[in-house]
């Protein structure tokens, strides 16, 4: 499935074409389920979240028209934001999430285009320019949904220090990406 084909499926979903929505689900649900599992670390909750995410996609697909993101980035953003919102509003936060789960990044699938691979290399290169700990914090937040509070605890620094760290890292990252 090329990005262009996914774009068409999202547009047709915005028109409430169920066949297009079914195809969109077929081609993108594994990726979005991967997002839910990684962030939520709980299979039942991830399944529930995935349903909610596709309900959002069905009802808000027309918003994609107003976005400049690539179709898969838009879908991942919807999924990540939803999973993180769920994580943040869990009844009993932290506690059991003491140990950082270190899941290795998978090798990019054959569907990953050369462009995507290039962009990934670029952001990895920019992350590598940050101090190791800070790059770890940025990756942990993006992929595992770590909060400021969790990161501060893990790295043994006060919350405000963590915030200053991460904000500086984000600015540096942007500077590097825009070079």
């Amino acid at each position: 499935m090329t990005p262009d084909e996914i774009t068409k499926l999202i547009f047709r979903t915005a028109l409430k074409e169920r066949a297009a929505f079914d195809l969109l689900y077929r081609y993108t649900s594994a990726k979005l389920f991967g997002v839910c599992l990684r962030v939520l670390q709980d299979r039942a909750e991830a399944e529930e979240a995935l349903q909610e995410i596709y309900v959002k996609i069905w009802t808000k697909a027309d918003r994609f028209a107003a976005s400049d993101l690539s179709p898969i980035s838009w879908l991942v953003a919807v999924a990540r934001n939803h999973a993180i919102d769920r994580l943040r509003t869990r009844k009993a936060p932290a506690g059991e999430i003491d140990e950082a789960t270190d899941i290795a990044d998978p090798a990019p699938g054959p569907e990953a285009s050369a462009v995507a691979a290039g962009e990934k290399r670029r952001i990895d290169m920019c992350l590598d320019e940050l101090e190791t700990e800070r790059a770890k914090a940025v990756r942990g937040a993006y992929l595992d949904g770590d909060s400021y509070a969790e990161l501060a605890e893990r790295f043994g620094v006060p919350l405000n220090t963590m915030r200053t760290w991460l904000r500086r890292s984000l600015l540096k990252l942007r500077e590097c990406l825009e070079q």
């Binding site: 991967g34 997002v35 995935l50 349903q51 991942v76 952001i123």
Partner: protein, 238 residues
């Protein structure tokens, strides 16, 4: 650094923190509301989404169990589900759904009426349709326009941006250097629908673009646009 620069910088950092996902629940909820209300801020968020998106390669795809899609279908398409039972035609929900579908200029494909999942490859792809995302940098007005060549209908889905008080939005087709042709005042509502003449349909097939201007109530008095363009976009086929 001026207060304005400081605020701009803070907005940008808040956008970055939101995208990274590190904020606590209450702050995320606030930021999320702001994204809906503040187009300039929403753009900052989107820029950060685009910047950090390559990291998403790190999410390993995992096929979800079949039960998830079944539950999702039940949640979303109860009306389609009801199609298999008697009494559908009395169902208010069904008629509501059908009215919305009609507004969008949709053909309810076989699936809904026959068996709820009757998609066959290629069946509905032969129709010539064009879609345009209508936007403009100077406004937060966004419409999604879909033109169906077979029925010569333009379905407009209102995405964001309100019309100024005492003004109407008017839709135009512009082909090359020709003067814009009015397609009429856009009725207010989330999904509206405008029919075109055959001549206009041909202009659209030849690659005309859509534009929306803010006009006095009832539309431009002169027949040519008088107000600023609030949104415009090319048509592409889907």
């Amino acid at each position: 650094m001026t207060v304005e620069e400081q605020n701009g910088r803070d907005d940008d950092l808040v956008a970055a923190e939101y995208v990274l996902g590190v904020l606590p629940a209450e702050e995320r909820a606030q930021v999320s509301r702001r994204i809906d209300d503040d187009r300039a801020f929403a753009r900052l968020v989107e820029e950060w989404e685009a910047r950090l998106a390559p990291m998403a390669e790190g999410f390993a795809p995992v096929p979800p169990p079949e039960t998830v899609k079944a539950a999702l279908d039940e949640r979303l398409f109860e009306t389609a589900h009801a199609a298999r039972k008697p009494g559908l035609w009395e169902s208010l929900a069904f008629w509501r759904g059908a009215a919305v579908a009609a507004l969008l200029g949709l053909v309810i494909v076989g699936g809904l009426a026959l068996n709820g999942s009757g998609w066959r490859p290629g069946e509905q792809d032969s129709r010539l349709r064009f879609v345009a995302s209508l936007t403009h940098d100077d406004s937060d007005v966004r419409y999604l326009a879909v033109y169906d060549d077979a029925t010569r209908d333009v379905a407009l889905s209102h995405v964001s941006g309100e019309r100024p008080q005492g003004r109407d939005f008017e839709l135009w087709a512009i082909e090359g250097d020709e003067p814009p042709i009015s397609l009429g005042v856009i009725p207010s509502g989330a999904s509206v629908h405008i029919s075109l003449s055959g001549a206009l349909g041909e202009a659209l097939r030849r690659g005309a673009v859509f534009a929306i201007t803010a006009e006095p109530l009832g539309g431009s008095p002169s027949g040519a646009p008088t107000g600023p363009v609030v949104a415009a976009g090319d048509l592409r086929d889907i």
